[in-house]
Structures are given as structure tokens and as C-alpha cells.
Amino acid sequence: MDLYSSIFNFMYLFIDSFGFLIISALGLAIIFGMMGIINLAHGEYIMLGAYITTLTAAAGMPFIIALLCGSLGVGLFGGIVDRLIIRHLYKRPLDSVVASWGVSLIMSQGMLVLMGPSIPGLSTPMGSINVGQFDYSVYRIFLGFLAIFIMIVLYVLFKKTKFGLHSRATMQNAVIARNLGINSDRMYCMTYILGSVLAGLAGALYAPTLSIVPTMGSNFMMLSFVTVVVGGADPMTGTLLSGGLLSLFNGGLSMIFGTLMGRLGLLVVAILFIRVLPEGFSGLVERQTLRVNRKKQEAISNGESN
């Protein structure tokens, strides 16, 4: 293998892994980071998104419509689960674990009863390109870039819009938010729905690349959990940096030793990382920004007193 195709191979593995980690972790990260709810049904939400997308596409709809149905359908489902169960468990992480675990069992077993052990999958769109001795899926490269695009959209949503500011305000202190006229109950519900939509989107986007079985959620669950744990409480910065770091090791090790070692390496890096920085990337970034801001503030007040 010549140098260029090795570089390309590594880049491909990195982008593929990065896209997968980010897209599958974002829904979990937002629900955990914003609401303090550990959604153990996250994998099953992704599974549901994949099923809806596959069935809609199989019924003759264009893939993009099927994609929308998959993500919005899971959003609707998440909204119902929120109203029935989760709203009683806001800011109660341990209770939410038990409840959402129950939801996940009902969903995967329910899907097994409903649709049988598997349904025919879709073919991967966009074809492939050949570099060196390997063929690469264009769709998976596209997903890597799409992950970045989704991050940008979410960043703007949370930093610049009314929904984003009110959602962050509610999650930080609901009493102040209500005193400022914010319907905090609605904010919680909408944030949970947003997390569900993102889980559904993950399922929808990866539906054409995987076999569609009721237990497929567990593939996503493990990796998205690792990503969120390494990322820490900040759903944006944390997930981005953690996805990047883990993919670097996953991609590199996969290229040299194969997929299994890539996966193992990812876990080892995650464990070491949490040992050193228990709060994940978010804790590290927060400390740095606070320090820089404080210095800036001190400089301003020093300037004033002179």
C-alpha cells in the first residue's frame, strides 16, 4: 500500500468512526447533559428510527422522506414517553436509568414480536470510490461531514435562538426561568423530543448500512455511552472533542490491527481518559474558559481603577 492510499485509508476510518460516534451520541448527550436523564432506551430509539426509515423506504418513498419520517417518528414517540414517564424523573438520573431501561426492553422485545427477527435492509446510497486497493463507501464519508454539519446546526440552535437560550436557562435553574416567564415544563419536553429526534436521525442515517434487527440498538448504545462519558456534561464541546479523540485511536488502530483492536483501543483510551479527567472534556474546557474569562475581567477592572 503506498503512502497516499494509507493516508486516505486512515482518513476514511477516522471520518467513518467520527461520524458514527457523533451522530449516535448527540441525542444521548443532549438528554443527559441538559436534563440529567440517562436514557438507556437511546439504542432502542435509534433502532426504532432505523425501522421506520427502512419500512417507509421499502413502501416506495424516496430515502430523504423516509429519513424525515424516521427522525420525526421517534421524536413523536419520545414526546409520548416523556409525558407518560420521563417527566416524573427530571433531574433524577438513577431513577431515569431504571425507567428507561424498562422502556428499552419493551421496545426491543415489542419490535421482535411485531416485525420478527429481522426485516430486509436498504441498499447503501451513493455507491463507492476506489482508492489504492480498497473500495470506500461514499455514503459513510458523507455521514462524517454530515455529523459536523449537525453539530453546527445544534450549536446555533442552543447558542443563538430563543429555544436554545430558554432551554439552557431552564436546565440550569428552573425557578429563575419560571419567574422570567419561561414555561419550564414545555422546555423539558421539547429538549427531550429534540434528543429523541436526533436518536431517530441516527437510526435513519445508518439504516442503509446495517442489518435491521430488533437488537441493533446495542451497537449504538455502547459507543454512544462511551462518547458521552468521555465528553462530559457539555453536549456540544464535550461530544465533539470526545468523538474526535476516540475516532483518532479507533481509526488508527483499526487500520493497523483490524476492527476488533480498533474497538478495544477505543475502550482502553476511554477508560484511561476518565481515570485522568473524571469530568470528561467538558470539565477540562470549562476550567480553561473560566480561567481565561476571569483574567480578562481582571484586566478590565484593573484598567478601570487606573
Binding site: I176, N179, N183, N293
Partner: protein
């Protein structure tokens, strides 16, 4: 033009036999009182008298155990807190109720959004934020993370956030706490100015000079009940009030 009914005598807020108990502790006990439109009323009383709890019942942080709260003729006893805020009840809390991890302008934007016309332009929002910053004199700060501001600056920010709602009834819980004499004087000036603009203001304070300077009418609370009510000068002369509150025994200064 306002209708004849809408005079200064109109009752803005009325509490009817309101009680609140927290697991056996009677924080507010059969408390009734009325605030008229345009009034500048002070609620005083020893620590633990239930003043802050009354505020929390008015804003809807806690549900009442018994009794009724009437605001502008409407029973709001069961109304959720956010709707009370949208109807014009604003509060400046005792501990600065600001978002420490967000920036100054983001804090103000959060407060402004609900009270501007829906889908207002970004420029209008920024303008509203600029006006509020100017009103409390924080222009020189820029847009820092609020956690890095001093206690006083956070207090001012919260006042600005409270005013974003253009409220009809303003509740101020120990506004001057932790302020130096100069800041207290500025606060008194600001409260008077807001009152002159027609705001109905209800405030809690322990600083008697501050209360004397701005309050017209005073309600004294003791053990969750209404103990006395009247003009500040009468209340200060009232011996019972002096006993419970001003820290004087009936035998003389202690």
C-alpha cells in the same frame, strides 16, 4: 384615557387567608393583605417571619396550602408560575437569580424574549438589551460570563432582567442586602424612579434607613401572621413592633 374604575384605589394584589406549611412548620399562617395600584409597600419582620415565603407564594414557586391569591381581580392561586410572570408579576430574588455560566447579554436575552413581540427582529432584541444595561449602569462591562461579576453587579443584572418583563407588580426581596451606602442610595433612587413610572412595588428589607427612605406603607409579619400595618412613622412608634422587631425590650434598649 383610562376608565373611571381604573383609579389609584384599584387593588392589584390581594391575599385572602393564605397559609403555607412545610411538613408541619407553619411558615405563613392565615395571612391576608392588599396592595393597591401604584403603592410602594414594604414587608418587614424578624428572620423566619415568612416574608420570603409570601413572595414565593405570590410568584408561584410554592403552591399555597390554604387561601386565595387574587391579582388584578383574577384568582391566580392555581396559575403556574410562568403565566404569573407573563401577566406582569416580576421578582428580584434574595440570592441573585442570574445564570452564572452564561454571559451578561445572554442572561438579558433570556429575560427579554417572552416580552417582545413574537418573531421580533434581532436588532430590536439587541436594542432592548442595550436599554436595560444602560438603565442599571453596566455599560462598561462588555459581555462577560456572569459568574465572574461581583455580587453587586449580579444584583443589578437581576434587576435589569426583572424589568425586561415591563411588570405591573414588582417584588423586591432584600434588594439592598450586601450593598455599600453609595450603592444603597442609587438603589433607593432607582426604586423611587420606577415607582414614579407607575409600578406597584412590594419589597422586603432589613435596612431600616432604606425602608424609611422609600416605603409609604409597611406591613409587619411575625410567626407567619400579619402583626401590624400602617405608615412607617406609626409603625416605628408602635411598641409591640419595637419589641418583636426592632430588638428593644419594653424596659428600654438592650
Amino acid at each position: 384615557m383610562r376608565t373611571i374604575k381604573d383609579t389609584n384605589e384599584e387593588t392589584v394584589l390581594k391575599l385572602e387567608n393564605v397559609s403555607k406549611n412545610f411538613g408541619g412548620i407553619q411558615a405563613v399562617d392565615d395571612f391576608s393583605f392588599e396592595v393597591k395600584k401604584g403603592e410602594l409597600r414594604c414587608l418587614i419582620g424578624p428572620n423566619g417571619a415568612g416574608k420570603t415565603t409570601v413572595f414565593n407564594l405570590i410568584t408561584g414557586v410554592y403552591p399555597v396550602s390554604e387561601g386565595k391569591i387574587i391579582y388584578k381581580g383574577e384568582d391566580i392561586t392555581k396559575m403556574p408560575a410562568y403565566k404569573r410572570s407573563r401577566n406582569g408579576i416580576a421578582i428580584k430574588m434574595q440570592i441573585p437569580g442570574v445564570y452564572e455560566s452564561l454571559t451578561l447579554r445572554d442572561n438579558l436575552k433570556i429575560a427579554c424574549y417572552n416580552f417582545l413581540t413574537p418573531h421580533c427582529k434581532r436588532r430590536e432584541l439587541e436594542k432592548a438589551v442595550d436599554e436595560l444595561i444602560a438603565m442599571v449602569g453596566l455599560e462598561s462591562l462588555g459581555d462577560p460570563i456572569v459568574g465572574n461579576l461581583s455580587h453587586g453587579q449580579q444584583q443589578w443584572l437581576e434587576i435589569a432582567m426583572t424589568l425586561a418583563a415591563k411588570p405591573d407588580l414588582l417584588l423586591l426581596d432584600e434588594l439592598a442586602a450586601g450593598f455599600g451606602p453609595e450603592e444603597t442610595a442609587f438603589t433607593a433612587k432607582l426604586v423611587k424612579m420606577l415607582h414614579e413610572q407607575g409600578l406597584t412595588i412590594l419589597f422586603i428589607d432589613h435596612d431600616m434607613d432604606f425602608v424609611r427612605e422609600i416605603a409609604q406603607k409597611v406591613t409587619v409579619m411575625h410567626f407567619g401572621k400579619k402583626f401590624a400595618e400602617g405608615e412607617m412613622s406609626d409603625i416605628e412608634q408602635n411598641e409591640d413592633v419595637q419589641t418583636i422587631y426592632l430588638g428593644r425590650s419594653q424596659g428600654g434598649d438592650n
